[in-house]
Every structure is written in C-alpha cells, then in structure tokens.
Symmetry: C2
Subunit: 438 residues, 2 copies
C-alpha cells in the first residue's frame, strides 16, 4: 500500500514534457539573441549566506525569503532574485573578469509570496546586464537586445516604454516636492494598476493640488518621443545640469535605436518608474500590443552602483529581466505554438515476428541518418503502440519486414499507410513527410 500522498507544495509546479519543451525552446531562442549581442552566461549558487542576499535588509522581500540554518548552523537563504547574487559575483570576481561585462543568467528563484494573487513561489528569471560602463551605447544595447528577443519569440507588436529616473527626480526638485519623492514615485508607478483618478487622489494627499496637477501633466505621454521629452524638460529647471544630462542621454539612446530602425518600438512614457529604488537612469518596461493587460514582459534600467554592499569598486550598469512565466502565458493566450511537443519523429512498431534486436539496428541506422526515433520495447497490440505514438505526438510509425527488406510507413495524423521498398527510400519519404507536417 502506498504510504505517502504524492503532491507538490503550494506555489510550486511540475513541468510535464509539453510545457518543459516549450520552456526550453523559449530559453534557447533568448540565448541565441543574447549571444548575438555578446552576452555570456554565468551561474551562481542557489543557497547563499543570508547576510549576502538580504544586505541591510528590512524590506518587503525579506519576509518572503526562504531562510534557515544549515548543517553547520550557518544562516543561509535561497536566492530570491538574480541581481543580488550578480552583485556579489561581480564584487568577488572583479579581478578575473573584464569590463564592461555583459552577462545573462537564466535560473530559478524562490519567494514565499502569497499565491492567491496567481504568483508562484518558484519561478524562473532571465536577466541580462552590462556592467562597468555608464553610456548611452550600453543603455541602447539593452533596449535593442530586448527588441530582438521579442521578435525572436514572435509575440507580435510590442512597445519598449522608457523613461529617465533623474529627469523625474529633477522635476520634483524643481517643483519643491523632492521630500515626498519616494511616495510620489510609488504612486505614479501604480498608475496603470489603479487608474488616473485614484492616482490623482493619492497625489493630492501627498502634495498641494497645483503640484499634483504638474505631476499628472509630467507623466502624460505625448504623441511623439520628441514632444514628450520637450514637455518633460519644459517642466524642469532648464539650467539644471542633471536634467540636461538626462535629456541628452535619452536623445543619445534614441539616436542609437533609430540607427538600427528599432525606434518604432520605443515610447517615451514618463509614468514608467520601476518601483525598485536603486534605478538612477533610464528605466524600461515592455508591453505587448496584443496583451497589454498582462503587464510588462521585460523590465529594467540603469543603476549607479551594482555592488556597493560588497566592494569599493564602483560598478555602474544597465540591465533588464525577462518574465518567462508571463511570456509563456502570453504565448499560450495568443495561441502561438511554442515548440515541438515531442522529440521523437519515428516509432518502430514491435511485432511478434520482428526481432527486437533488428529493430534496434534499424533505429541506429535511422539515427545515423538524423532521425529521432525509438523502438517500442515489446510486441504489444498495434493499437496500443498507435495510441502511445498519438499521445506522444509522434508523427510516423514504421513496420519493418526484415525478410523482404521492405517497410510500411504509417502517417499517424492521416491514418494512411505507405509501402516502401528499401531503406534509402524510407529516409527520403520520412524526410518529406516530416518537412511537410512542420
């Protein structure tokens, strides 16, 4: 009698082959894009010292972190994002690496979040960053990489909504609202979630009506990049060096993006803030035109100093994170086939009269010819073997007649048989059918 009820923890998931293959295909496409832009992969431990991961701590995240004492009574925790381990990594390996360092990291992270909001406690993150340079070129590279990634995933039209945190901060200084900067920033950041009216109300509780109005005017997107930028700058102090620098940075980024004809994907949206307090320059969120309601599928920005907790070395950088789970959901909602659901192309039917060993010899020849195939391991009823093939989405089944050296190929989707006289014809026809059914 089985004694333990098989089950997974709330917020955790098994990945069955269909979904796992779709995920692997998606990841492979992203890796190819990252490679084209010179990003290299790294990996870091899942478990780290808690003080490393939590830093000064005290935030909302801390409560969600899986933290415990290990066998050596060390205070350890499972990583809850890929940014903090990357900061520790850069501080520790600065001497072995070269700058600017372009890395990507695709890996699982864990947060004991409330699962009622449809969130998972184990999910995958996909981060890419360029560290060691504070330039428009690197900012643009992050946007270009994100754009190319969206194209590779075939998610239809999309918008990279960018903003500059310094421009917003200098605007707040100019209107004398800098003491409320963090609250204002967090309010504006929720604009899409809570709507314009609630945002206005919340702002009015923070500053006087005139300033609330100024802020609402500032965060409005105008009909073009230039007009939006002009409006934003107009609401700042024109002689403010930092505001000027932020404006030129945005123009320089846009120049790079325009040079590659990707400017159609860029929207300057002054309401984009990215809640995290450590962004200091450009910030970006990515919306899918067909599914704006799912929120940003690729978000990030520029930060002044990645690893100040761990090193005196100043490491400015820029990066973004792709939401794989969200993208998987988006692709499903859009009805986009994300990859093959089986690797097997050919099933070799096992008949009572066929020698299993000869089937293995045939399978080896088919593999040498490039086909993924498998031998059904025992001579069960043909219907059982067909059902297996159908459930695994295997397109072709082959009956071998070893005494005649001939074959019958079953095209399973069409329930049609083809008689074939020899092995080379078998390969030819299989190739044709598999190609056509793609």
């Amino acid at each position: 009698m089985p004694s333990i009820q098989p089950r997974v923890l709330k917020g955790f998931r098994d990945f069955l082959p269909d979904v796992e293959m779709a995920r692997a295909t998606l990841i492979r496409k992203l890796e190819q894009v990252f490679s084209l832009f010179g990003f290299v992969p790294i990996d870091t431990p899942v478990l780290e010292y808690a003080d490393i991961l939590l830093g000064k701590g005290g935030g909302e995240t801390d409560k969600q972190v899986y933290r415990f004492r290990d066998h050596g009574n060390r205070d350890v925790a499972m990583r809850y994002d890929l940014t903090v381990p990357f900061a520790r990594f850069m501080a520790e390996h600065a001497e072995e690496l070269y700058l600017p360092f372009r890395r990507y990291h695709i890996a699982k992270v864990w947060r004991g979040e409330n699962t009622q909001r449809g969130r998972y406690r184990e999910f995958m993150q996909c981060d890419f960053d360029i560290v060691g340079t504070d330039t428009a070129s690197a900012d643009a590279d992050i946007l270009l990489t994100a754009a190319r990634a969206m194209e590779a995933l075939d998610v239809g039209d999309f918008f990279l909504r960018i903003n500059h945190r310094a421009l917003f901060n200098r605007f707040l200084v100019h209107i004398g609202a800098q003491d409320k900067a963090l609250e204002i920033l967090r309010t504006v950041d929720k604009l899409e979630k809570i709507g314009l009216q609630a945002t206005e109300q919340k702002l009015s509780s923070l500053v006087d009506p005139q300033r609330a109005n100024d802020i609402l005017s500032f965060i409005q997107t105008e009909e073009s990049f230039e007009k939006t930028l002009d409006k934003m700058f107009r609401l700042c102090d024109h002689n403010d060096d930092e505001a000027q620098a932020a404006r030129s940075r945005l123009l320089d980024i846009m120049e790079c993006v325009t040079a590659t004809s990707d400017e159609r994907h860029i929207v300057l949206d002054p309401s984009i803030m990215r809640g995290l307090d450590y962004y200091t320059g450009m910030v970006v969120e990515t919306s899918l035109a067909a599914l704006p309601e799912i929120g940003s599928v690729c978000s990030g920005g520029r930060y002044d100093d990645l690893a100040s907790l761990y090193t005196e070395k100043k490491l400015p950088g820029v990066g973004a994170s792709i939401g794989l789970d969200r993208l998987m959901a988006a692709l499903e909602a859009l009805g986009i086939q994300t990859g093959p659901t089986t690797s097997t192309q050919i099933l070799l039917i096992n008949q009572p009269e066929s020698s299993t060993a000869r089937l293995h010899a045939l399978a080896a020849s088919l593999r040498d010819a490039g086909f993924a195939c498998e031998v059904f391991p025992e001579p069960k009823k043909v219907l059982i073997q067909y059902t297996y093939a159908e459930r695994k989405h295997i397109p072709l089944a082959i009956f071998a007649n070893f005494s005649l050296g001939s074959f019958t190929m079953r095209i399973l989707s069409q329930r049609e048989n083809v008689e074939i006289s020899d092995f080379s014809r078998l390969c030819e026809i299989a190739r044709e059918v598999l190609h056509a059914s793609r």
Copy 2:
C-alpha cells in the same frame, strides 16, 4: 565602505562564463542524444515536502538533506537527487502521461556532504529513465543512449560495465549466503576502491573461506562476455528459474547491443553492484579508458518498482545518471576543448571620430548577416579595447571608416590588419577568418 564580505558557502561554486559555456555545451550535446532516442525533458520543484523526499527515511542521505520549516511551518527539503522527485512525479501524473515514459532531467541537487572529500554541496545531475516496461529492449536503450552520449562528448574509448543483480542474488542463495547478501554486495561494490586483498579479508569476516572464495571467483571478469556469463551461471543453480531469466535477459540485451555494433563497448563485470538497494535487474557503470581512476561517469540500472511509496501502480523501469561534474573534470584532464569561451565574434571598436549610433547600425547589419558582435560602448584608448577583446577571446575587431564606407579588420590572434572596401567583403572575409580559426 563595503560592509559585507563577498563569499560563497563552502561546497558551492560560481560558474564564470568560460566554465558555464563549457557546461552548457556539454548539456546541449547530451540533450541532442536524448532527443535522438525519444527521451523528453521534465522539471520538478527544488523544494518538496520532506516526507515526500525522505520517504521512510533513516538512511545516510537524510543527514545530508537541507531541510527546514517554511513560512507556513511546513516541513520542507531541497531535493538531494532526481530519482525521488521523479517517482513522486510519475505517481502524481500517471493519468496524464503515456507508458513507457522516457524522460530526462538535467538539474541541480543539494547535499550537505563533507566537502573534504572534494565533493560539492550543490551539483548537477543528469538522469534518463524508461519507466513502465520490463524488457531487454529498454535495458539496451539505456546502454545505447549512454554509449552515444559518450561518443558525442568525445571522451575517447569507454566501457559500459554491466551486471545483473538477480544473478548475483541467486548465486548467494545457491551457496547459502543470502542472509549476508547486503553486506556482501556492499563489500564487492567497493572492490575497486579497496582492492582484492581487502575485499577478500572483508568477505572472510562475513562467510567461511570456501564461500568467500566462491564469491571472489564469481565476481571475476573473464576474457569475453560469453565466458563470464557461463562462469556466473555455472556457479548458480541451473534449475533456478530466476537465474535462468537473468541469464536470458543479459543475452537479449547483448543481442540488441550487438545489432547496433556497440558490443565493443560492453563488458560483463560481475563485480558491478551499484550500492543502492533498489536495483533488481541489470546494473551499469561506465569507465573511461583514458581515466579509469575517476570512476564511473554514467551509472544506473533496472528497478522493480519506482514509486511504490506514492502509488499502487507498479512502475518498473530502467535508467542511468550521468556525472556532469566528473565528466567536466575528465574533459579538462584529457585537454579536450569543451566549447567556445565567448559568443562574440566581432568587436566594433569605438573611436572618438566614429558615431556610436552608426556603430550600432553596423552591428545590426552584422547580426542580420549572422555574426555575434558588440559595440564597445565608449571611445576609450584602442589598447584598452584590444585588451578587452583578448580577455573575452573575441577573434575579430573592426574599425569602421564611415565617411569612406570602408573598414579595417584586426585579426587579434595574429595581430594583423586587413583593409576592406565594403560591407559585403567585410562579411565574406570575417566568415573565412572565423571558419579557419575554428
């Protein structure tokens, strides 16, 4: 001032790009082999209920498991292998899946082992199994997949050392030593580690000298598969059905393997036991001819019932696990280049007079032509940019003269410059140089 010393936990490792790319290349090759044999990937959570992972518990492993209370006070643990989660997975998803189910799973596992023995506390496992069939065909498929994997990794000559647990067990019954079966099995399993003399001593402490001699005779490998099998069977009771069945199974497996001409890789080695108690049929270990001392790089066997703890459904299976860390070490010891150490093929040199935006346009064109390239983000000294390229192992650097539409290509390994008049020539020459330097 940095306040936290950057460091990783003992037994844990960062993977810098060179090593991470080598690991990714190795994994990709294995995935290709698994696909050719019809295996599909799955994934399971890193954290599970402790009772699921530890089962009845009490073993040596238990003490090494990372186990703690989560936010909901649940008793949870990090997986320490991929077999137990797979058993739980099969019990839970039996209805959604088809049998025989061929899966592979490449993922990290955690054990708080003593690191002094050069072991890691976080390491990757790579398991492949065929569940739901008790056949020589499936046994052979595991051997054939292992053989093809070794070939794909280019590790030189190798031996799949196989045995049958039932044959050994029936032999022990025949000589009346079955009450000491587990101790004898564990002693023989350490033969390679402790040597023949110590094994003999240990056996003599378990059984009388005559029986110890019989056992030593049984576990000796003779000059051929047939001779070894004959010797083993001769030492059993000839009328024993189970011994006969085990013998025919080994012969049937060998017939399948011989049909694909892989028999040269197979050795029948009656001393191979695989310590784990749950193996019941064929067992296998894989030795590299060039590095026998590193031990088995691919091990496994047949088990009667995968998931009896979680389901009444009987799930016989056969599978093996590839030791990725050991293989990585082996490839390094053999001086085998395991993959590229960068993805970037071309660095676009940033000069004071060149517009960064135009460099991005050129990079986009090069990517469209299939080249992985990156723009150096700012016009630093050329020597700095060269040094960057060298440290990242980038083979080519390009200086663009936008006013003339011409280029200078620097072949970094040869410290040689080539003048090129237009973009299509640039692509041609880059392709040639990159091809030649492979």
